[in-house]
């Protein structure tokens, strides 16, 4: 089978799930005939019609709330945020209504909220965000953020089948830059399991989304230039975190670098560090270090964006320090 892009993999998952389950439908701004701002839903309107691919007004509160209502009644809505940055507008609806529905009212709310996320694309402060931390912090939500085309498809299928609300972050830098050959058959990647992207023995890089690729590039350089064997763990699911995989790599290499594109303070790296520290303290030969964005709204000019966001060089620098600890 031919390789398809990360973006096509998501579309394929949506298509297959809509085919499989008549309760699955799509809701979002400009996702119908236009196919969405990034064309993720391209062709689905033509195939499934206006009752299953529904264009909405510019109303993130209503889109998320309506998805929840339909989900209570047994449907399986998949909502697009035109850019994930606008999920902030639905923050109350997601954290107060959706996340608590099962717990406080025993209401199933099987829905997916997906959208183009992340930077490195000169999108400026409102088209580049990585808002996962606030949602990982919210009990009742699940969060995934794939780094490969295979996982993008497999996790989307799992997200749609999950009986709770799953936030599905798609990295727009990866949309058309990476490709993968889809496994045959009903390719579902279970939520909650990390992926060992590269095996190594000297130190571990734990990361997710676009920085998985930066970590892999750094690992290759460290191998060649320093002879260091770097393990790279791609988390894939951010809530619930795969503690077993995180602890296994920490206990194996004794040196851990956590990398993410999100800003530093209050980003996920803190949580991961705390968990490793609690569970693997005796195994650590060095502090867990973090390579993250600076605590700054993401600026637009290439030189500025590149300064704020973590780069391959930063991972190399940090890994060397860790290895030398």
């Amino acid at each position: 089978m031919a390789a398809i892009t990360y973006l096509e993999a998501i579309r394929e998952a949506l298509d297959e799930e809509m085919q499989r389950d008549p309760e699955v439908f799509l809701l979002g701004e400009d996702i119908g005939a236009y196919g969405g701002a990034f064309k993720v839903t391209d062709g689905l309107f033509a195939k499934y019609g206006a009752t299953r691919v529904i264009d909405t007004p510019i109303s993130e509160i209503a889109i998320v709330g309506a998805a929840a209502g339909a989900a209570h009644m047994g449907m399986r809505p998949v909502v697009e945020m035109q850019f994930i940055d606008f999920i902030a507008n639905a923050y109350d609806m997601l954290t107060n209504y959706v996340a608590t529905a099962r717990y406080r009212a025993f209401l199933p709310t099987p829905m997916v909220v997906r959208g183009p996320s992340g930077g490195y694309v000169r999108g400026g402060p409102f088209h580049s965000q990585n808002p996962e931390a606030g949602f990982v912090h919210t009990p009742g939500l699940k969060v995934v953020y794939p780094a490969t085309a295979e996982d993008a498809k497999g996790l989307m299928k799992a997200a749609i089948r999950d009986d709770d609300c799953v936030l599905f972050f798609e990295h727009k830098y990866l949309y058309r830059r990476i490709k993968g050959v889809m496994p045959a058959g009903d390719h579902v990647v279970p939520i909650g399991r990390a992926r060992l992207a590269r095996e190594g023995t000297d130190l571990s890089v734990i990361t997710y989304a676009a920085t998985v690729h930066k970590a892999l590039e750094a690992a290759e350089r460290l191998q060649q230039e320093d002879g260091l064997s770097v393990e790279v763990l791609d988390l894939r699911t951010l809530a619930p975190l795969d503690d077993a995989a995180i602890f296994a790599t920490a206990r194996k290499t004794h040196r851990v670098l956590v990398v993410h594109e999100d800003t530093r303070t209050g980003g996920l790296a803190g949580e991961i560090t705390a968990r490793i520290n609690e569970a693997c303290f005796a195994h650590l030969d060095a502090p867990v270090l973090r390579v993250t964005a600076h605590d700054i709204p993401l600026p637009y000019a290439p030189a500025l964006e590149d300064f704020v966001l973590p780069q391959v060089d930063d991972i190399v620098t940090a890994a060397r320090r860790l290895a030398a600890w």
Binding site: G65, A66, G69, M75
Partner: protein, 380 residues
């Protein structure tokens, strides 16, 4: 498009659907209104005995609007109440014992002690559920959710209608706006009721909106609008039933404004110092919905006073019996807190420093029937 008074859209010869109700059904309306009031009075007594956990919210003087409107729905329809819609919930099948257990945070209350007061519901397939949705506190949020509920009806071709209540205050929220607009554009079978009771907490309606009347918002959403005397239970029924019928016929959203009055404070603790002197008394004396409807039944419908008195006694007995049951109900077990944040995993594990937590029962905690408390509608 916005209609200032009822029925303008239905032609001049249209019947008053409230007035033509058979007497037996009118007596049912009386029963629900009386039950609402008596149950709340019982809650006040329990509150004073500090048996209510948290605040107590009254709908005194608004019973007609809640009861009359919800009475226009079929059992398969779905209604989303707010804090002043106890009457609507009772009509939809919520039982006094459920309400009492909720307020007392009992372990077998509808939310098992997780949520407050009347924040509980029972929704899902027609027939299997009573059709009311548990509200959350952030105001306005239920409008988008009900847009989604009714979207499911439309997408599946189900013959079901939704009705959502908001207060005058909640009309100022972004959620209200986005939700009703979304429903209007999609011509969903949804009735949006604004209960204009004059206040949002301490804020009078003219500090909430500069509109002359809230029903004036209808035209801006392209929906049918009607305003009605919210303390006239038959008029409320009439206007709501027409809106429900329109929704059922596929004619989309209606926005109804009920003019009523909140005679008690926002909650029991509120001293209403902000209310102009005499205002409450005037409404109590001249415009109590139960008094008004009693007079209709006695004077126009010629119901013997003894028949109403007998209903009052029946209500009193039911509330007494429910109180006994609720007071005897168990408190929740602490570890019950761990169950059911997600479908998978079915339970959280206690944090390590809770060495003493009994987790042995967690496995079987998530029984198959783990849904809404399974008091059948008949159990009232």
């Amino acid at each position: 498009m916005s209609q200032r008074r009822r029925r303008a859209g239905d032609g001049p010869a249209a019947q008053h659907l409230g007035e033509v109700l058979p007497l037996a059904r009118k007596l049912e309306l009386y029963y629900w209104m009386r039950l609402t009031r008596t149950l709340e009075e019982r809650l006040v007594a329990l509150y004073r005995q500090t048996k209510v956990v948290g605040g107590l919210f009254r709908s005194l003087g608004q019973e007609a609007d809640a009861v009359g409107s919800c009475y226009a729905l079929e059992p398969r329809d779905v209604m989303s109440p707010l804090i002043r819609n106890l009457g609507a919930m009772l009509v939809k099948g919520a039982t006094p014992v459920e309400v009492l257990k909720q307020y007392m945070a009992r372990g077998d209350s509808p939310t098992r002690g997780r949520e407050l007061n009347i924040h509980f519901g029972d929704v899902g397939p027609a027939g299997a559920t009573r059709g009311f949705l548990g509200q959350i506190s952030p105001l306005g949020d239920m409008v988008p959710v009900m847009a989604g509920v009714t979207m499911s009806f439309k997408l599946r071709g189900e013959d079901r209608v939704g009705l959502v209540y908001v207060g005058d205050g909640a009309t100022s929220t972004g959620a209200f706006h986005e939700g009703i607009n979304f429903a209007a554009v999609n011509r969903l079978p949804l009735v949006v009721v604004i209960e204009n009771n004059g206040y949002a907490y301490s804020t009078p309606t003219h500090r909430q909106t500069a509109a002359k009347q809230l029903v004036d918002k209808a035209i801006g959403y392209g929906v049918q609008g009607e305003q009605v005397d919210g303390n006239d239970v038959l008029a409320v029924y009439d206007v709501t039933k027409r809106a429900v019928d329109r929704a059922r016929r596929g004619e989309g959203v209606s926005l109804l404004e009920f003019i009523t009055y909140r005679r008690k404070g926002h909650a029991e603790h509120d001293d209403q110092s902000y209310v102009p002197p005499g205002e409450i008394e005037t409404w109590a004396e001249q415009n109590d919905p139960l008094d008004r409807f009693t007079r209709v039944l006695l004077d126009r419908e010629k119901v013997p006073a003894a028949e109403l008195a007998a209903l009052d006694v029946r209500v009193q007995r039911e509330v007494d019996a429910a109180t006994d049951l609720a007071e005897a109900a168990p408190l929740p077990a602490p570890h019950d807190a761990l169950v059911g944040v997600y479908a998978d995993p079915p339970a959280e594990r206690p944090l390590w420093f809770r060495a003493g937590a009994d987790t042995s029962r967690l496995g079987r905690e998530r029984a198959e029937g783990w849904g809404t408390f399974d008091a059948a509608p008949g159990a009232r």
